[in-house]
């Protein structure tokens, strides 16, 4: 199944792209999707963190970092690190 990944702010710089499509085995969880993304884009480890250095969203709703929610075709994950400029 294919899901869409959106990278915001620093995540976009680290991944080098605004969005990507990920091909995952059926029934994959959000946590597994994140692990796969970290393998594909190792620089993202900078914003990974133990407790959370960024907000994750699934279909525009907050997603717990270790959520075991099963993903489905067409889901959209957003990786949103904080920005602090002003």
């Amino acid at each position: 199944m294919k899901i869409k990944v959106l990278f915001f702010a620093r995540a976009r710089e680290l991944a080098g792209t605004t969005e990507a499509e990920a091909d995952l085995p059926e029934g994959s969880t959000a946590k597994e999707a994140m692990q796969m993304l970290l393998e594909k884009y190792p620089d993202l480890r900078e914003i990974e963190g133990e407790e959370g250095k960024c907000v994750l969203a699934l279909n525009q709703e907050y997603l717990e970092k270790n959520a075991t929610t099963a993903l489905k075709e067409g889901d959209e994950i957003a990786i949103i690190p904080p920005i602090s400029g002003g």
């Binding site: 915001f8 702010a9 620093r10 710089e13 680290l14 605004t18 620089d43 900078e46 914003i47 963190g49 133990e50 407790e51 959370g52 250095k53 960024c54 907000v55 969203a57 525009q60 709703e61 907050y62 717990e64 957003a78 949103i80 690190p81 904080p82 920005i83 602090s84 400029g85 002003g86």
Partner: protein, 467 residues
């Protein structure tokens, strides 16, 4: 409105006690309804007459206020009572920069009764493309004075207070307590955590905005029974290199303008009790795509160390908490501290380099990003960008550098008294990293320009822009 009055009185008491809190009161001579924040009525003696014929209404607006704010008072979803609440409210704006400028100007225009402005910097020329509360005529002047001047010129009937030492730990609780709504318009991570913590402890809603490059973010923290705070969303501080500053990463001027305008809107909604505040929602703005996205956020996190069930940060411990240690970053946007990676012998001063350039006996490699190289560079230099975030990307240039050193050594002759290649960058940090990397790869006979092109602009005697 009792809370405001108490807070206001505390703020006024402080004026005499703490020199670091500077209250700036009305300078205008027009008849203002606000003599102090402890007043319960907005009427002054002279204005009672103006209300004689319309007693019985439920608002406290004067005739002058009705005229001034009529275009939003006649709005069915706003009305006289919301305007009256706004006129009796107080908002603290922390940061009078790109975000704080539109916040201060719109809140002054909309008639927020008491505006606090906290900042500690002076206006610089490179602020003016985005910090629209400041003027060419106020470059060099404290941002509080400059923004205060603008607010007063828009609306002389409101009260403006200035906190010229910024929002620091010593006054955080006191300040957060004496305003109804707090607006975070700062530019760094430690301040954002401090402001959020103080708002939780003082029980105040926080309108938080941020902008960098072409990205913007906006949300309201600590509002309602389940609204999260900044730490609920970001319990771990970002790496310092994740927090680009406007001075390093750049910012398209209108982006903080848009986010700041939205912050003003949220502050008006909270202060007037109109509409639904952007609590538990994070608004993301992508300026290049022209797209706004809203993400629904979590509730308050029970394990949060400040707003959770067993908090570790309290009003007392906040004073000794090290925000700089927690975030690994200083609480200002002053660019990175100078690095000391190379030995003095591996470095060259701007004056020395100028001599070598004049005698055409050195080859210069400029490792800044292309956008900065295109602003200005030393004639004849080559641009091979290096990024601290992605040092491995420079590996492909190492062979090129080896070749460059070889060629330059031939050009300058074996009897040359100085190294053949000089690496330059903006401030002299990245250039040290590159020389270090080259030496580690066996490429010697390379030095860097100490202090970077900022030192070159100051000390070489050559006309070169400082940016």
């Amino acid at each position: 409105m009792g809370r405001i009055e108490r807070g206001g009185q505390r703020a006024h008491r402080q004026t005499g006690q703490q020199p670091n809190i500077i209250h700036f009161h009305r300078v205008s001579t027009s008849s203002e309804p606000y003599e102090s924040c402890s007043r319960t009525s907005t009427q002054t003696v002279g204005q009672d007459d103006a209300r004689v014929n319309w007693e019985g209404t439920e608002h406290q607006l004067t005739k002058e206020q009705v005229v001034r704010y009529s275009r939003q008072i006649i709005l069915p979803s706003f009305g006289a009572q919301a305007q009256s609440r706004l006129c009796n409210s107080s908002v603290l704006i922390i940061g009078a920069g790109g975000l704080g400028s539109p916040v201060a100007m719109y809140l002054a225009a909309a008639g927020v009764g008491r505006l606090g402005i906290a900042d500690r910097d002076a206006v610089e020329l490179n602020n003016l493309h985005r910090q629209i509360a400041h003027r060419e005529s106020t470059v060099g002047i404290h941002k509080c004075d400059s923004a205060g001047l603008t607010c007063r010129s828009i609306n002389s009937s409101i009260q403006v207070e200035m906190y010229k030492d910024g929002f620091n730990q010593q006054i955080a609780m006191e300040l957060a307590s004496c305003f109804d709504v707090i607006v975070d318009a700062t530019d760094n991570a430690p301040s954002r955590y401090l402001i959020s913590d103080a708002c939780v402890l003082a029980g105040k809603p926080l309108v938080s905005g941020a902008a960098i490059g072409t990205d913007g973010q906006l949300t309201v923290y600590n509002h309602g029974p389940d609204g999260p705070c900044y730490r609920c969303l970001f319990p771990e501080a970002p790496e310092p290199q994740s927090c680009s500053s406007c001075s390093d990463a750049g910012v398209l001027g209108v982006v903080p303008g848009i986010i700041g305008s939205l912050q003003a809107l949220e502050a008006i909604k909270l202060a007037s009790g109109v509409g639904r505040p952007l609590s538990r929602s994070l608004l993301l703005f992508d300026a290049l795509a022209g797209r706004f996205t809203t993400v629904k956020l979590r509730q308050r996190m029970p394990s949060c160390i400040v707003c959770g069930t067993s908090p570790r940060i309290t009003a007392e411990s906040l004073l000794s908490y090290s925000y700089a240690t927690f975030t690994g970053a200083p609480s200002h946007d002053a660019g990175p501290a100078p690095l000391e990676l190379l030995a003095p012998i591996q470095r060259v001063t701007a004056a020395e380099l100028h001599k070598w350039v004049t005698s055409d006996s050195v080859s210069i490699v400029d490792v800044r990003p292309e956008a900065q190289f295109s602003i200005a560079h030393i004639p004849g230099s080559t641009n091979l960008p290096f990024s601290e975030a992605k040092p491995q990307a420079f590996d492909e240039h190492i062979e090129l550098m080896r070749q460059r050193v070889r060629d330059a050594a031939i050009d300058t002759g074996d009897d040359s008294l100085h190294p053949a290649v000089c690496v330059v960058c903006r401030r002299g940090n990245d250039s040290q990293r590159v020389v270090d990397l080259l030496v580690a790869n066996g490429v010697n006979d390379v030095v860097d320009l100490a202090g970077g092109l900022e030192a070159w602009a100051r000390e070489s005697g050559v006309d070169f822009p400082h940016y």
